[in-house]
Every structure is written in structure tokens, then in C-alpha cells.
Amino acid sequence: MTGKVVTITSGKGGVGKTTAVANLAVALAGRGQKVACVDGDIGLRNLDVVMGLENRIVYDLVDVVEGRCRLRQAMIRDKRLPDLYLIPAAQTRDKTAVSPSDMIRLCDELRPEVDWILIDSPAGIERGFKNAVAAADRVLVLTNPDVSAVRDADRVIGILDAEGKGSPALVINRLNPILVRRGDMLSVEDVLDLLAIDLIGIVPEDENVIVASNKGQPLAMDSKSKAGQAFQNVARRLMGEKVPFLDLEAPGLLQRLLGRM
């Protein structure tokens, strides 16, 4: 196996990177792929919580880098999906504990073991971000349809370009079709118009995401919610399938009922 390294980043914080990584990982693993997630947010780790694996951490990324354990020992296997692993970040250190070349070395060691290595980048454009993108074969830039998140995404795309990482793919997260229709939220077209990169996913706003994150059960595990479906679709597109984008404009059941009243 030669695993592909995919980094999810955004510039701005709080747009849903960690949730996206957890859901993509679950979606890929559910399709028979072997996946390792790496939490790049050293000092502010979250991915373990969202994936519900917090209580199983013994060794972390920094332990691997500093040689206190073997890579295998830091890989936590998700019991629900046997081909899903997490390498958690250290909570007691900071971003300087790891260098970009450490990340490249780590990913090179992981590549033969898995199909996908998903790296959760911290917010910002400093050391943590540089670490997270250093080894990436592909970068997904995640943004929300609001002006400041799009501005930061634009900045990140510029930096990736300047570092020779090529053009990343875009995931628009937390789109609210009702607000867009009212003209109160940037539409997919508005965002694409400004960022001008390839779109790989549109994820609707969905309150189930919060519930699922708090439970430590990524939404993509059950495919009933629209957000879960959207992440499933991103995973399929990553695997090279052509999947049409969800029709988010179609009114839901509730709206149809309300409309009839």
C-alpha cells in the first residue's frame, strides 16, 4: 500500500476541520479503506474527543517523533471500524515539539501501512499549519460561507501556492440553503467566484453534527443525515468517483409541510 496524505486546513478556526477529518476518516474506512488520522493540533487536541477515542490514548505524536514509542504503539484502533486508526496529538506540549521534516518522516513510515493518512491541521498559518501541510499529497481547504472564513481560505490558498503545494480542493462547510435563498449567506457560487479552485464538497449545516461530536460518534457512521451524506460523497470523490453534488436547494419535509399550511 502507498497511502495518500491528505491535509485538511482552513486558516480560520472553528469552521469544522476536526469534524471534517473525523467524518471523512469514518466514510473512507466504511468503504473498506485503511485510514490513519493524525491530529496536528499539538497542545489543543480535539480529534480524539470527536472520534470518541480519548480514553484510549497512551502514546501520542510527540512520543513517536521523540522516539519514546514505536509508531504502531501510538496508533489507536477504532473498535467500530477496524481499519480506522488515530494518532493523537500531545496535549502537554506545543507546535514547536514537531517540525515539518518530522511530519514528512512520520508520514513516510505510515504510507506502506494504510491507504489514507488524514491530517487535521490547526487553525492559523504558523508552525502547526506548516507541519500539517509539509507531507501532504493533497490539501483540502475547508471554509464556511462567510466573508471572514473565505478571506482566510484565500490567504491559505495563496500560501500553499507560494510553497509549491499546488492548488488545493475546496470543501464548503455549514451551508444553510435557507439563508442563501434569502440572500443572507454567501452562496456556493459566491465562494467559488472568489477562491477559484476546484470544489470537492458542499456540506449543509446540520445540528446533528454537534450532537454526534459530543457523543464521539462521527455523523458519517449513519448515513441518514444530509451532512453525513455530504461527507460520504467527499470521501467517494477523494477515491476518484464522480459523484454529483447534493441538491440542497430542494425543500425538506418540514418545509414542505410548513409550505402547505
Binding site: 484565500d154 495563496g158 472568489l194
Partner: protein, 226 residues
């Protein structure tokens, strides 16, 4: 000119104007030599923005403001004073002068070639994104968009074959004849020479426009092909 020993000061063209680095000598000698040099070649200095690096010299308000007056009489605007002396730094700040100039960020700064010929243009064949800054002494032509958060600074004109939504400063060294044209002209802020304007919110944006200075006012007009 030969009377001026070169060790007294150095002149260098930088993005922000002229950087004068003073050497080791008494302040009186340095000041006299500098003024002498300016008077010898007024055309070169006319309209220049000057950054003065005075090293360790302690300068009081009276001394520095006198120099600033002398320079402004000669059409030079002193806008920054760099110094390792805290006294001078405080003085400069009291006079409203900058005490730091931005260091170029190598990865992001596209280019700062010095003193390009008057008709030279920098060709930028990409979208200029947030956080990117292009500074050039000459004209700048962008084939692509200039996104919000990006900056283009040119001593000459700026032409954007795309949407201009960032900050643009044409005629940054004082050229009031500089133009800014774009297929869609809606910059966050538009500056030509010393004038600043914010683009009005407008509905119909799909026309190429040209901005220029007319009687000291920044005006934008639809592009007329003729």
C-alpha cells in the same frame, strides 16, 4: 559630488522610497553633506519619500524637525526615521514619523526590483490572494483577480485584467498621472499618489473602469475605447 566622501551616507532605493543610511561622523557634518548632495541633484530627490537610518545618533525634536523642514523645502517627505537610539526613536514618534519599515517577506513578496526603467511593467499572471503583496517600482499588470486582503503597490500605473477587490496604490512615489484600470473596479481602497478613496457600493459592476486623479480628486469612469 566628489567633495562628498561616500562613507558619510548611503542612498538606496527601497519599496517605501529612498533609504538613507548615515555613517560615522558628527551630526552637523552628516546633515550638511546630505543637504549638499540633495542640492547637487534636485531632480533625483524631487518628490521622494525618505527613510533615514541615523544609527546611534541621539536626535532631539528641534534637530530632527529642522532637518525635516529642510528636506520638505526641497520637495522630499521624510516619513520614517530608523535608529538604535531610544532618544531618537521617541523624538521621531513625537514628530509623527514612522520608526520601523516593513521587512520584505521573502516567500510572499513577489518582487522588488530596484529602479526599473520608466516604461517597465511587472507581469503577474496569477490571482493575487489575501495576504499577498506586490510592490514594484514601475507599472504592474495583473492577469487574474486581486482578491480582498491583497495589496498592489506600484510607482506607476496598475492594470488588472480581472476583478480588483483588494487594496491598490498607483503612483506610490508621487506620480499623479498614474492610472488604475480593471475589468471590475471595486477595490477595498484605492490610492493614487497621495489621494485615497474607498469604492462606493455599486450594483452594476460589470464594466471595465479607469481611475485617475482629476484636479486632485480621485475619479473612476467607465473605460472608453477610442
Amino acid at each position: 559630488m566628489d567633495a562628498t566622501p561616500p562613507s558619510l551616507f548611503q542612498i538606496k532605493g527601497i519599496r517605501e522610497g529612498l533609504l538613507i543610511t548615515l555613517g560615522e561622523a558628527s551630526w552637523e557634518d552628516l546633515e550638511a553633506a546630505l543637504i549638499q548632495n540633495i542640492d547637487d541633484q534636485p531632480a533625483f530627490f524631487q518628490g521622494a519619500r525618505m527613510v533615514l537610518d541615523v544609527g546611534l545618533h541621539d536626535l532631539r525634536v528641534a534637530v530632527l524637525s529642522e532637518l525635516r523642514d529642510k528636506l520638505s523645502e526641497r520637495g522630499i517627505s521624510l516619513w520614517a526615521v530608523l535608529s538604535e537610539s531610544p532618544v531618537t526613536e521617541t523624538t521621531a514618534q513625537n514628530l509623527g514619523l514612522a520608526t520601523r519599515i516593513a521587512k520584505p517577506r521573502p516567500a510572499e513578496l513577489q518582487s522588488v526590483p530596484e529602479a526599473a526603467p520608466e516604461n517597465a511593467a511587472l507581469w503577474v499572471r496569477q490571482t493575487v490572494r489575501s495576504g499577498q503583496r506586490i510592490a514594484y517600482s514601475g507599472n504592474v499588470v495583473v492577469l487574474g483577480d486581486v482578491n480582498p486582503g491583497a495589496e498592489i503597490i506600484a510607482s506607476g500605473s496598475v492594470i488588472v485584467w480581472g476583478r480588483l477587490r483588494g487594496v491598490v496604490h498607483a503612483g506610490a512615489e508621487g506620480d499623479e498621472g498614474a492610472l488604475v484600470c480593471a475589468l471590475e473596479l471595486s477595490p477595498t481602497q484605492l490610492r493614487i499618489a497621495g489621494e485615497i478613496a474607498v469604492s462606493p457600493k455599486k450594483e452594476d459592476k460589470n464594466r471595465p473602469e479607469v481611475a485617475r486623479l482629476k484636479d486632485g480628486q480621485l475619479v473612476a469612469e467607465p473605460w472608453q475605447a477610442n
